[in-house]
Structure formats: C-alpha cells, structure tokens
Symmetry: C2
Subunit: 220 residues, 2 copies
C-alpha cells in the first residue's frame, strides 16, 4: 500500500467511524426530545449518518481494505470527543448536532481535496447537506427567545465543542503519519497544502462556524 493510498484509507476510516458513532450518539440524544416530532427530527439526522457510514464502508471494501481495521485507529479520539461532550439536555444535543457535526463536515470536506478523485467525489457526495438539520435553527432560536439566558449558556457549550473537536483532531494528526503527510505533501494526484494554504483552510472552517453560530442566534 502506498502512503497516498494509506492516507486515503485513513480518511475513509476516520470518517466512517465518525459517522457510525455519530449515528449512535444522535439516536441517544434524540431520546431527550420534548416532543415526538423533534425526536424524529434528530432521528432523521442520525439515520443520515448511518447511510453515510454504509457508503464509506462500501468504498473501503472496494479499495481492498477491512472496514473494522481501518476504523479502529480512530476509535479512541472520536469516542473521547463524544465522552467529553455528552449533552446535558435537549438543547445542548441540538447545538452539538448542528455545530459539532457542521465543523467536522467542513474539516473532512477540506481534507478530501487531497485524496484521489474517486474517493474525493464520494466524500463530497456523502457529506452533502440533506437539510435535515434545518429544524435545529428554529428550535434553538425559539428557546433563546423564551429565555435569553439560554443563549449565553449554549454559546459557551458550542465553544467547548469546538475546543474538544480541535484537541481530538490534533491527537489524530500526531498519531497518523500518513494522514498528516497527505495534508502537507499531497497524494500524488493532488499537491499538499503548504502552511499558507493550511492557514487559509483553518480560516474557511472558522468562518463557516461563525456563520453557523449566527444562524442559531449564538455569539461565536
């Protein structure tokens, strides 16, 4: 296996495990819903993640790799993120589904640029916005209207989500040479990012995060 292919499979493994466990976590958080339609709303987001997992797993198999082996290295970081960001209530669950999943999705979309075309296209297609998260915006804004103090609490919560996501991403970067190499030197079919491009990528992800927070009525 070349380093390029190793990084490609690494990306698919991280993403696949993220979606599989995201599915389970969102389904868990859905049980805190105050109404059945809201329970089904977060449930639909969970199911989106499982469908993505299926497509990613199929691609891993297509590349001749074993999905379980490919996902295994990312279990500790992804699980740590979720353990450290277990929502205390329904609203925290909604913000996590919208802000946490949003920033992770943007990050994976950026990385996808560096992998070979077939996988890049799959990742971009898999991560397309289904619109199923849109109900979160109305629900969070309504909660802030009902009690403005909620806005401050949820803004702090979102900051914690971002902090935990970043520290787990760093942990993965330190562990997975192939993935880090991919970002810095490319896969052969696409050039890697230099530090300037790396900075720009980070800015794009941050800007999108700020926009997402604004949509929820939260200060980033």
């Amino acid at each position: 296996m070349t380093t390029g292919n190793e990084a490609e499979v690494d990306l698919l493994g991280a993403l696949a495990y993220g979606q599989l466990t995201g599915f389970l976590r969102l389904a868990h958080d859905a049980t805190a819903a105050p109404t059945l339609p809201e329970m089904a709303g977060l449930g639909a987001l969970a199911v989106d993640e499982f469908e993505r997992y299926r497509l990613l797993r199929d691609r891993i198999v297509e590349l001749g790799a074993d999905p379980e082996a490919v996902m295994a290295p990312f279990v500790p970081a992804v699980d740590s993120y979720h353990e450290r960001t277990a929502p205390a209530d329904w609203l925290e669950g909604l913000v996590k589904a919208y802000v946490g999943e949003g920033i992770a999705t943007d990050f994976y979309r950026e990385i996808a640029v560096f992998v070979p075309e077939a996988t890049r296209e799959l990742v971009l297609r898999v991560l397309v916005d289904t619109g199923n998260a849109d109900f979160v915006v109305g629900a969070v804004r309504q909660a802030i209207t009902d009690d403005p103090r909620v806005g401050g609490r949820l803004a702090l919560w979102a900051r914690r989500l971002v902090g935990e996501a970043l520290s787990q991403a760093q942990r993965v970067a330190a562990d997975r040479d192939a993935l880090t190499q991919l970002l810095l030197s490319g896969s052969g079919s696409a050039p890697g990012a230099d530090l300037v491009e790396f900075g720009r990528m980070f800015n794009r992800i941050t800007e999108e995060h700020v926009r997402r927070m604004a949509r929820l009525g939260l200060t980033a």
Copy 2:
C-alpha cells in the same frame, strides 16, 4: 371520523411509535456490540425501523391525522415494554431485536388484515423482512456453542420478552376501544375475527415464535 377509520389510525399510531422508539432502543443496544461490524449490524436494524416510521407517519398525515396525537396513546405501553426489557448485555439485545421485534411484527401483520386495503398494503409492505436481522442467528448460535449455559439464560430472557409484550398488548387492548372493536367486528371492508379466528391468530403467532427460537438454538 368513523370507528373503522379511528381503528385504522390507531393501528398506524401504535406501529409508528413502536418503530420510532424501536429505532432509538436498537441504536442504544448497538453501543454494547463487541465489534464494529456487529455494531453496524444492529445499527442497520435500527435504521430499518426509522424508515418504516417515516412511511407510517406519511400515511397518517395522508389520512388527515396528526402523527404526534395519533402516537401519544401508545407511548406508555410501548415505553413500559422497553423499560421492563432493557437488555443487560449484547446477547440479550440481539435476542430482543430478533424475538421481540419478530413477535411484534407478526402481531401487527395479523391485525393489518382488518383495516382498509390501502393501509393494509402499506403495513404489510413496511413490515417485510429486510434480512438485516439474519446475522443475529449466527451470533447467538456461536455464543451458545462457546458456552452452552448461555442458551438457558437467553431462553429465559426470551420468555420474559414475550410475557412483557403480551401484558402491554393487553393494556393497549383495554385502553383502545376502536382497536379492540376492529379485531372483533371488522372495519366494514373486512369482517372481524370471532373467538375461534382469534385463537387461530394467537396460534399462528406462537408457532412462528417457536420457529424463531429454534433458529436461534433456543427452547421456547
């Protein structure tokens, strides 16, 4: 709303809530999986339930009813069933997914005979076996081969599942006149069951349950 239509909507409401909450419970039980492929295996069963919920909810809306209002009367019985049958480990979760869902599915299929054709067809189509539960058979049989004592414990567990399912079904029957009336006198488009037919229905469900237990290598 006629009594026939009320019973039709009742059936859809009970089934829709059963699938929505079944989705959440199976996703929860999947977290106990010993391996990622098994986690994904139970996850696929959970997702099947959510897809069924979606189709049933759409049909409820089509009939001019409010899904939340229609599901609400069945929340206590369905939730009680799940609270009283929370699996203690992965194997109990597998048996619940196979035996508990299996018997509920057979029961709903039998009731569907008495509702108008469009809904009957939807219910039968929704409840078709996706084959996603087949992996449970191999996993349970393997566990019994590894440690034969497991077979006795799981057989007792399955008996408890059936007992709890029956007592919650009785609770629903006592509460929901329209549904009980439907079974006994029919909906107008189909005749109801007399006591003889009722006994036969019960026998068919029991026989199928015994076959399901045998497939798992368990004594019913």
